[in-house]
Amino acid sequence: MINIFEVKETNEMIEKENLDVRTITLGISLLDCITDDLEKLKSNIFNRITGKAKDLVSVGREIEREYGIPIVNKRISVTPIALVGASACKSPEDYASIAQTLDEAAKEVGVNFIGGYSALVSKGMTKGEENLIKSIPMALSQTSLVCSSVNLGSTRTGINMDAVRLMGQIIKETAEATKDADSLGCAKLVVFCNAPDDNPFMAGAFHGVTEADAIINVGVSGPGVVNTVLKKVRGESFEVLCETIKKTAFKVTRVGQLVAGEASRRLGVPFGIVDLSLAPTPAVGDSVADILCEIGLEHAGAPGTTAALALLNDQVKKGGVMASSYVGGLSGAFIPVSEDQGMIDAVEVGSLTLEKLEAMTCVCSVGLDMIAIPGDTKASTISGIIADEMAIGMVNQKTTAVRVIPVIGKGVGEKVEFGGLLGHAPIMPVNQYSCDAFINRKGRIPAPIHSFKN
């Protein structure tokens, strides 16, 4: 039988170390909403989402209450809208009107975000996908809960450089369209290489076409928990360090598995995956950078950071895999800058640069995340940053992503405040040399040799 010390350990993780379930994300297929009549399509989408997700928030609250574990976000992901709207939408404006429908549906059911305003263009773009991409600045400036993502490359297809070039411009336009809110629109827009179909985290969640009608995916989190246990093994060997992280990741993930199972049962929707993640928040102590410091670095970004992060990421997966029946999504340690107080501190003291962050993305769960850059950064430079990150994902057969925010009207040294879980960030310098001639080449980068596994 459970003893008082085990109960105390769990409750201290929740109360003092910010253990939480970061998100329950309900994936909903919109494929059966498709029609060539735009108004009918929007009404189908609204009815489908509000029907399927009507109990999501209340069930989430019930689970929180009964188990005493906070569930920070309840979210929805839908089939990439570029596909859903392809036959009804003739222009970017048509697509943007679907974004408004998504926003209304999300508000109606009370979720925090809705993801899936997306296009998957890793090899080529259809006219519909191009229209959706062009509508992103409009869509994100006219809505508050819609998140957008674009998959630009994969290990199997290479990198669609035409789409990379376009996304550099789109990110700039989105920043411009939301400049009154410190270019907040860009915090809801992410580009991927090797985007997973079952990611529960925003801004990149969408309900892939490989998925069933509806599915529950859960993302767990607990950097504070890992950090606290590591304080007890200071100076110990790597073996002890790794075992400690692994055991803690197991415990954290088991809570995610429990919540996922309960949510699935109560909503009558199949369970998809648990995303084994260490996702920080701006709250003090809930930081992945702090874990890196506890492992032995003065600040994140110091020499040794990539190795420490690689170790952390791997142990989180090893511990988590046994705790969950199905694992998926992005899984690993997230390294967003604005959402992690330790990362922000490291940038402010000059320890952490964009280039070091890029190196870290080779071994972390995703990529360059929530990084504020000067508002006058050229679109081609943003495309260059994206291309680098896509190349890392493509060659290493991992998911990588870029979510940078060119903050219009602000420069290096200034700060930007996004609020809530999105946090705040110092604006980081970007390499000033040009990559125009590289980005302006047409076509795509071929898939790497090791993708031919047949």
């Binding site: 769990t10 209450r65 005493g68």
Partner: protein
């Protein structure tokens, strides 16, 4: 049988157990096990209870225990046992 764990944490004072047990008895909640310790001057109690005979919904019981906790200056949490089993048992 679905079991529930009730924990009481706070400054030690007269009548904490009495107050909680009276509430549980009035609501037909059966206590299966009690353990108690003092950690760093703080009263820590854990009860394993069976709520199957209680007519009140779980949420109401949790809210009312919360209220009793406020009255006597301790924190009372009421959680399904599964969260602890999941975390501490393979």
């Amino acid at each position: 049988m679905k079991k529930t764990i009730i924990t009481v944490v706070g400054k030690d004072t007269v009548g904490i157990i009495a107050k909680v047990c009276t509430y549980l008895a009035n609501n037909r909640i059966n206590i299966l096990d009690i353990s108690q310790t003092i950690v760093q001057g703080y009263f820590n109690m854990m009860m394993i209870v069976d709520m199957n005979d209680s007519s009140k919904p779980f949420g109401d019981i949790a809210d009312e225990l919360d209220q009793i906790g406020d009255e006597i200056g301790v924190v009372i949490r009421c959680q399904r046992e599964d969260i602890f089993n999941s975390m501490h048992r393979v």
